[in-house]
């Protein structure tokens, strides 16, 4: 029998592994449903229940035009729900990418990783396929959540054109690449999913609240502002707000994208380098 395995395509393994992860997800509509419901609940709770607009507009001591101005000064838009809904997109990226770290721990525990390592597939493909599948999942979930936000009454700003949506995808793409690389790095040597779970629980809410996702930085104490200015979620949310809600400040938008681009490139590269080093012992 012929041992010839035919022509080789180096991306074969990468796409096969990416598709494996995605299959688990799109074949289980329930998981997709849950992963959409969670951010929508947050959006409803924070955006609608915490009716910050009403604190000012329903206040008889504040004239309506002032109320609007206060909102604009703090949030950049007169509608807190719109501000918050954008933050929830970061939330979607954060939570989805966290699970890429879990999945590598599982693969190691179940021996799947060992099997993959004994095949000629590039070590970097193993890590990058997880990054890519988490990113694709986040993008799809984020677009569904964004669609729901529009239905709930997200108010777009003066500079908004449908083309800006592409920019939103780009920002989400970059943050997801960076975040999932980080979570994979945490999981790459671990064999205990409990550890991974604990790290995730420790990181997720602080990462959310130390960014401008739910509340603007300007109202934070100084020490927190410093953290928030490093937190890449801040730049994602800002970029998306520049594109959807604000009168776009092009310089700021460029800065956001540069920051996110560097963040994604640095951590993805570290991921590739460490995958060479650490995947086999």
């Amino acid at each position: 029998m012929s041992r010839n395995n035919g022509s080789k395509n180096p991306f074969h393994g990468f796409w096969a592994l990416t598709n494996r992860e995605l299959k688990k997800w799109y074949k289980e509509p329930f998981i997709l449903f849950i992963s959409i419901v969670q951010p929508v609940i947050w959006m409803g709770l924070f955006g609608k229940a915490m009716n910050i607009n009403a604190m000012f507009t329903n206040n008889p001591n504040i004239p309506p035009e002032f109320a609007n101005q206060i909102m604009r000064q703090t949030f950049g838009t007169s509608d807190y729900f719109s501000y918050m809904a954008v933050g929830i997109l970061s939330f979607v990226s954060l939570f989805t990418t966290m699970f890429s770290g879990m999945s590598i721990v599982w693969d190691r525990r179940l021996g799947f990783l060992n099997k993959v390592l004994s095949t000629p597939v590039a070590r970097s493909s193993i890590v990058l396929s997880k990054v890519m599948s988490a990113t694709i999942r986040s993008l799809i979930q984020a677009s569904i959540v964004l669609g729901i936000a529009f239905l709930f009454g997200l108010q777009t700003g003066p500079s908004f054109t449908p083309l800006n949506i592409l920019g939103v995808f780009a920002a989400t793409f970059l943050i997801c690449i960076g975040l999932s690389s980080i979570f994979l790095l945490i999981g790459i040597r671990s064999t205990r999913w409990e550890t991974q779970m604990a790290v995730m629980n420790l990181l997720n809410l602080p990462l959310m609240f130390t960014s401008n996702s739910l509340f603007p930085i300007s109202t934070m104490p100084d020490w927190l502002q410093i953290i928030a200015k490093v937190n890449p979620l801040t730049y994602t949310s800002d970029a998306v707000r520049q594109l959807l809600l604000y009168e776009t400040d092009v310089a700021q938008l460029l800065f956001d994208f540069t920051y996110l681009g560097i963040f994604a490139a640095v951590f993805a590269s570290i991921g590739i380098v460490l995958s060479w080093k650490y995947l086999s012992k």
């Binding site: 074969h12 000629p120 597939v121 012992k281």
Partner: protein
């Protein structure tokens, strides 16, 4: 480079700077043979395989597979080997067919080729009827067969089988042996397998190495190892109350005679020929043999002889214990 398909020189793996899992082992495997590593839990079998299949780096020593160095030419090695790991590694959420195609993609095999091979292999391991069922619904035997199929998708020159029948019941185990023999005949490859079942090594392997505490204790064909024990055991008793040891010892082929609780324990070559002679010699001297039994040595005795104990259960590391338990649990599910 050697002509041997696998050769290992001083191969050593030390975990956490102190646990010597594999201790300077030397061995070779020639083209087309089934070579077995036989040893108890924690002997270092899986660790040896993991070094040969390039997922663990040796601490010391070298080995080559098909002429490629396992460290310096790891990716060449990966192209020519197939692996059937100790654990069930198929993705439970995917179907059997999807798992095989996934493996094929990892080798970069074009889809036209991999589809054809997948169907052939599914047929061979008799999983065609279940190919579109999720692996989580498979029984232990089916999972093992799926792993076999996955390990063969790239037409490997060497197939590594790590405890291919761990946790399977007796019938399924025998059936798996048949698959292994069939696959070897079909693909004419070299097989390196590990096991802690003596019958398995006996039934399948051309040569075996007994490994214990990371060291190879002895290498040889199952037949040679059994012969090296010095033959069969004849036990007999006679009616008369007399010592016949001296008499029996003089008979050709008899190596050793011991008297134990009124029975004679006789070690002899070619037991089935020697036993009648013993009876005849005794009859001529007027002794009547009342009972006689003949036992052929099995690998059990070989094992006992070389390791000084029967298959022991050493305390395993937590990780390998967990993996073991998981494999067993899944293989029992029907």
């Amino acid at each position: 480079m050697t002509e041997d398909v696998i050769s290992a020189e001083g191969l050593t793996k030390v975990f956490n700077k102190s646990l010597v899992a594999v201790d300077h082992v030397n061995f070779y495997v020639t083209e087309g043979e089934i070579f077995g590593f036989l040893g108890p839990n924690g002997a270092g079998k899986t660790t040896t395989i993991n070094m040969l299949i390039t997922i663990l780096k040796p601490t010391e020593g070298t080995a080559s597979v098909c002429g490629y160095d396992i460290v310096k030419q790891a990716s060449m090695v990966r192209n020519v080997i197939g692996v059937v790991p100790q654990e069930y590694t198929a993705d439970e959420d995917l179907t059997g067919y999807e798992n095989i195609i996934l493996c094929a993609d990892l080798y970069g095999i074009p889809r036209e080729v991999s589809k054809k091979r997948a169907f052939e292999l599914l047929e061979l391991v008799e999983l065609t009827a279940f190919k579109d069922k999720k692996v989580e619904t498979y029984s232990g035997g089916m999972r093992r067969r799926l792993e076999l199929a996955c390990g063969l998708i790239n037409r490997p020159r060497v197939l590594f089988l790590d405890e291919p029948t761990l946790g399977l019941d007796v019938q399924t185990r025998a059936a798996t042996w048949n698959y292994i023999k069939l696959l070897k005949k079909e693909f004419g490859m070299t097989l390196f397998m590990t096991t802690h079942y003596l019958e398995e090594a006996d039934a399948l392997c051309d040569r075996i190495a007994i490994i214990d505490y990371g060291k190879i204790v002895v290498v040889g064909s199952p037949g040679d190892l059994k012969n090296a024990l010095g033959g069969d055991i004849i036990t007999l008793s006679i009616q008369e109350d007399a010592d016949i040891s001296g008499l029996v010892e003089k008979i050709d082929n008899v190596k050793e005679v011991r008297k134990q609780n009124g029975m004679y324990w006789i070690k002899a070559e070619n037991g089935e020929i020697t036993a009648p002679i013993v009876i005849e010699v005794l009859r001529r001297k007027g002794y009547a043999v009342t009972r006689l039994s003949l036992t052929k040595p099995t690998l059990d005795e070989v094992y006992l002889d070389y390791t000084g104990r029967s298959l022991r259960d050493v305390e395993e590391s937590k990780e390998s214990f967990r993996a073991h338990r998981r494999t067993l649990r899944r293989s029992r599910r029907r």
